[in-house]
Assembly symmetry: C2
Homo-oligomer: 339 residues x 2
């Protein structure tokens, strides 16, 4: 246990940094015994730690003097802020000093820096960002959600293979069902990209179950749903937008009459129960697959619970041999990832 | 008023045909004085009409012996079922015997038949299907929602111009705000298609307000939101799926305790009030823009109310000179449609 390298955690990343980030680390250290290297400005981190009681032994602090802000230009920040918590954390992964890197910071900068400092896994054409869909009873890895706005059919095949490996190694899904996001049931099934990706997926050794539509994404119909990064990003934003919109409308409707308000109050536990299912925090962070190291990117709004979950998942990934499996699936490496 | 050609209505199209279709026609005729030509199998139509009391004078029946089913192959059905209600109705538009065609039938077949029998407006590269978003207090024309899975930047510019003309002529929006569906705020804004379409829109005389994201679609942030038909179709399916999912979860949560159920019952009017905002039926049908005639395609689940609304909108479009405006915006026709 003491030989296991820690998870490097970006203490400065996200809307609630460093307070919530440190709180999540302390909870993961205390409850799960996760070893965490908090990367960032030491005074701030130490101050946050002090407010949480005696520091757990499994937590260390790694200084990084710079901060990449949420609105910094990704590539530029990754290149120039060399002593930022993101770059320092990724370097730890590169050098084997950390088993994985977790951040709720600037997504674009994390992706750019990860590609820059860790590099791609040999044979993988494009790294891809996964969103874990916690909406239905079961998990779905939905990807790409924004790493690659323009995709070729072969990228989608590689995305599906990597996500299958992830679901198998980290979430113990034995033979992940893979679906392609597509449109309509009509004669011509989707864009040229979708049609060509369909052929590749159907001819692969993945457990491909065919096309699904936008409405299927929250239902848990598949373990992996693959699409290009433009469509995927639009879909997750649309889902968030719809959830916010419907809850907002419901709130307005309930407030419109005093007796609705009383009934609404009585229903609060039921609403909370439902809202929990829409809650990304339960699953913490999505992996960036295809870079040469384990990287998990959390929602900018991540709170202590999200960070706690992300650390749990990151440790699971580090211990599971997932990275080695990803290295195996690259083309020309012999073995396929049949899932 | 008697000189005005009727709206041709596909009596056989949709999950609830012909009963609900005929009911919607009767209501529109009685309440709004809309002239309707019910196209389809006469015995069935007459039987449905008989159940609605004395036939309004403004309703006529136009026989069509064939029916294009919801699962027929679009292009094939359009080509071979020449005496179908869809083809007969579109022919009426072509020959000036109807001011517009309304159908809740097989979307792919209606699009294929409309292009086949009406042709495209000169200079318009691709017809496009619009979904009217009734979610927020104000209307948004969201397009393309499935007519063109593969798009070029110039198509998106034309879509935006046509939808602007539609919002102006039919919904009296003076200078429609046009937005481009795109991803993230990061450095590289979206796909190559989105980037090139942005340039074209920014350089046009449309009232272009820039990029919006998936979560903005239901908010009424713009009068027109344009994207390719693959993304657009995925977005509307995702919105429907999320609404169904959230309402379903809410129902489960409410049923989980007896006292929740009581509160839920008290809240029913408030729920219904909210659900109405998610209701496509209020706006009936979306226009197929760019073909040489007015065509409105309703949801397969259209009921009498949706058909009633569709007929109201179709008559408004026929009277508004919208088609003439669309003919003006095609490139090389002199005038731009500045909205």
């Amino acid at each position: 246990m003491t030989d296991e390298p820690p998870i490097a955690l970006d203490a400065m990343g996200g809307d609630n940094a460093p307070t919530e980030i440190v709180a999540g680390a302390v909870r993961a250290a205390k409850e799960l015994g996760v070893r965490v290297a908090l990367v960032g400005q030491p005074e701030e981190i130490v101050a946050c730690l002090a407010r949480r009681g005696p520091k757990p032994d499994t937590i260390t602090v790694v200084p990084a003097s710079e901060v990449i802000e949420m609105d910094d230009k990704p590539a530029q920040a990754a290149r120039h802020k060399k002593d930022s918590s993101i770059v320092v954390g990724l370097r730890m992964v590169k050098q084997g000093e950390a088993g994985a890197f977790v951040s709720a910071g600037n997504t674009g900068a994390i992706m750019a820096a990860a590609i820059m400092y860790l590099g791609r896994i040999k044979g993988i054409e494009r790294p891809t960002l996964v969103a874990l869909m916690p909406l239905s009873g079961k998990l779905t890895a939905f990807l790409d959600v924004g790493a690659n706005a323009d995709c070729k059919p072969n990228y989608l095949l590689q995305f599906a293979g990597m996500a299958s490996a992830y679901m198998r190694h980290v979430w113990d899904v034995e033979r992940p069902k893979v679906a392609l996001l597509n449109i309509g049931e009509e004669e011509a099934k989707g864009s040229t990209l979708a049609q060509e990706a369909y052929e590749l997926l159907a001819g692969s050794d993945l457990n491909f179950i065919g096309n699904v539509e936008g409405g299927d994404v929250p239902t848990g119909i598949a373990d992996v749903i693959v699409t290009d990064g433009f469509t995927g990003n639009v879909v997750i934003k649309t889902m968030e937008g719809m959830a916010d919109f419907i809850m907002g409308q419901l709130r307005v409707a309930i407030k419109s009459r005093p007796w609705y308000a009383a009934a609404g109050l009585a229903l609060m536990p039921a609403f909370n129960q439902m809202r929990k299912k829409l809650d990304y925090r339960e699953y913490g962070a999505g992996p960036l697959l295809g870079v040469n190291g384990l990287v998990f990117i959390g929602h900018g709004r991540s709170d202590a619970r999200a960070i706690y979950s992300a650390l749990r998942v990151a440790r699971e990934a580090a211990q599971s041999g997932m990275l080695e499996a990803l290295r195996e699936i690259a083309p020309g490496r012999g073995k396929g990832e049949a899932g």
